[in-house]
Amino acid sequence: MSNRVINLLVPIISIILGLLVGAIVMVASGYDPVKGYIALFDGIFGNVYSMGETVRQISPYLLAGLAVAFAFRSGLFNIGVEGQLIVGWFAAAYVGVAFDLPKMIHLPLALIAAAVAGALWGLVPGILKATLRVHEVIVTIMMNYIALHVVNALIKAVSGSYKTDKIHPTASLRSEFLSNLTNFSTLHYGIFVALAMVGVTWFILEKTKTGFELKSVGFNDHASKYAGMNVNKNIVLSMVISGALAGLAGAMEALGTFGYMASLSGFTGIGFDGIAVALLGANTPLGVVFGATLFGSLKYGSGNMPNAAGIPLEIVSIVIALIIFFVASGYIIRVALGRLNKKKEAK
């Protein structure tokens, strides 16, 4: 087995193991796992509508995952993606409602607004870390709550109600074409924005000198300083870019899925799931595509389990968590594969 094959096998084996344990749990609690998994499969691939929704669900996960991964690569743990997403959501919705512009300008403007809002939210922990060495984990956790309350107040202030008006069609990512293609699903152009950002982050990290610096700082800030890099600037930059990506994830909701923003009674969870997505993908942009696809599909498809099989959807969360465990424990799977390999060679 080549390294490549093993790298591919590890996630596949993890998924199978996760599903297997999930099946055992289902049997143990009196459900029919076959029926359950058929429902799950149908929920993801059953028809064009579900496929459309699945892809739609993947878009924000892609961006949230990229945001976490990007910060990780420069040695920062951004738990604040959630808050950055919320402010991005609001900013995009606000621009979508407040302006009347041609689509060519309006949509990009709304997207940029979301990115900028997220970036600003990332700027605070970035600056505090760079200047005062305040741990970014605490600050980003706090910024999440601040985002939640501030945005709720802002929604009320600008709309006088619990939610913003609908955005103008000129700012919308929704597409008649995609929707018709998928039997009225909410699939929107956001997926292309998200994929484009996968390309952009990959480019930044792997091709630019900024990416080189960010990674260098992430691995060894002392050596980076010796090499003449501005470590503090890179810390701030990393948080800002990460925040911008998270803000764009919010734009997916504002301009695509919902077309407005309503007061949130709690976190969306997308930001936290982004941590899992990023780490499943080993913090590389391409890996994030894998993580987001897995996560988004299972998350969306799980809705069909109570629907079609009467199985509580928590079972899918259990399966997802197990898959994460197994992927993370890839080392042991590799060891097992290695042994298997040796035995085969011996024969």
Partner: protein, 344 residues
């Protein structure tokens, strides 16, 4: 629209006939389903109540849980709303409810895509032709709660703990303050919004502050945060059997929640009978009188809103007085304020 659906429905029912032994299926019955908001179907609040209405309708008409009968789907986050409604639409239910104001856009979107299906929306107003909006005059019930509180208080200090400042909660708030003022304008209502529905510790601290400052009755409209209000009151009661502390529950009868040994600190609860409204709307639809495109507002007049049995906590004379106020509201002699900021 209903006619065609019914044809399909009876087909299904006959298919089912041989596998199940459904007791006298009402031929004219329609299949109904609902999508919860993120509270889930047993939130002890309007989701639970709506589900009760749907079950009641189903049982009365001999329907089974599942396709062609009645069912629900739980939403775990906002993105689930539309997907869930769509799932139910794909399963050909005749009438699909969205429970909670947050589901408005999702209901409208799917309704427009499925003009043949009927939809119900609770707590929000929609003008889409195949959507029946069900609204409640929470302020009217809150008003009566206010009357009860104002009469029962010994300290002349009353509290209101709200969750987030959103229109529904503000209706509770406004009505309650109105009701208190109607009895005794000198009583100050201590109002506090915690900004969340899921932080019991905040509800608890707010209640603690209020009780500590002399408040003896608190009306909460704060979901899970309200749990904290109850736990604070119960602790006070547990510590001192003679403590005079009360909580007024919301949405469903929260009597069970108020038990402290043999005592109970739930004064009463303001009930929002989503179940009645949901069932009624289904019955109309079955008769071909589905109120699509219109807004039906339930209040004291049609028992859509009421106070729960206080189980003796409120003496009869006060109950009588509450009844008088109720009649005045029903007869529109009193129009209850529904916006706390619109000071009269």
């Amino acid at each position: 629209a209903c006619g065609t659906d019914k044809a399909k429905d009876t087909e299904k029912d006959t298919e089912k006939e041989d596998t199940t032994t459904a007791p006298e299926v009402n031929e004219g019955a329609i299949s109904i389903a609902m999508v919860t908001d993120t509270g889930g179907v047993d939130d002890k609040s309007f989701n639970q109540s709506a589900w009760k209405g749907i079950q009641d309708y189903g049982k009365e008409n001999g329907l089974e849980k599942g396709d062609g009968g009645y069912d629900y789907l739980t939403s775990t986050d906002m993105a689930d709303y539309e997907a869930n409604i769509n799932r139910l639409a794909h399963r050909d239910f005749d009438l699909i409810y969205g429970i909670g104001f947050l589901l408005k856009d999702a209901i409208e979107t799917v309704a427009q895509q499925n003009p043949e299906t009927n939809f119900g929306l609770v707590d929000e107003e929609s003008e889409v032709a195949n959507v029946a909006s069900i609204m409640f005059k929470e302020q009217e019930g809150a008003f009566l709660a206010g009357v009860a509180a104002a009469r029962m208080t010994k300290s002349n200090k009353i509290g209101f703990v709200g969750g987030m400042e959103i229109p529904v909660i503000e209706r509770f708030h406004a009505g309650f303050v109105d009701g208190v003022a109607a009895v005794n304008p000198d009583i100050k209502v201590d109002v506090q919004y915690t900004g969340n529905f899921d932080k019991a510790e905040d509800g608890k601290a707010a209640a603690n502050r209020m009780y500590s400052s002399g408040v003896d009755i608190i009306f909460h409209a704060a979901g899970g945060t309200g749990n904290g209000v109850f736990s604070e009151a119960k602790e006070r009661k547990a510590a001192d059997k003679d403590a005079y502390v009360w909580v007024i529950g919301v949405d469903s009868d929260q009597y069970e929640e108020g038990k402290v040994g043999d005592e109970n600190i739930t004064l009463t609860s303001m009930l929002k009978r989503v179940d009645i409204a949901v069932k009624l709307t289904a019955e109309l639809a079955a008769k071909g009188e589905f109120p699509g495109g219109t807004i039906t507002t339930y209040g004291l007049a049609d028992d859509g809103i009421e106070l729960a049995d206080s189980r003796g906590a409120i003496p009869d004379d006060i109950l009588a007085e509450i009844e008088t106020f109720k009649e005045k509201i029903v007869s529109e002699e009193i129009v209850v304020n529904k916006d706390p900021k619109a000071k009269k």
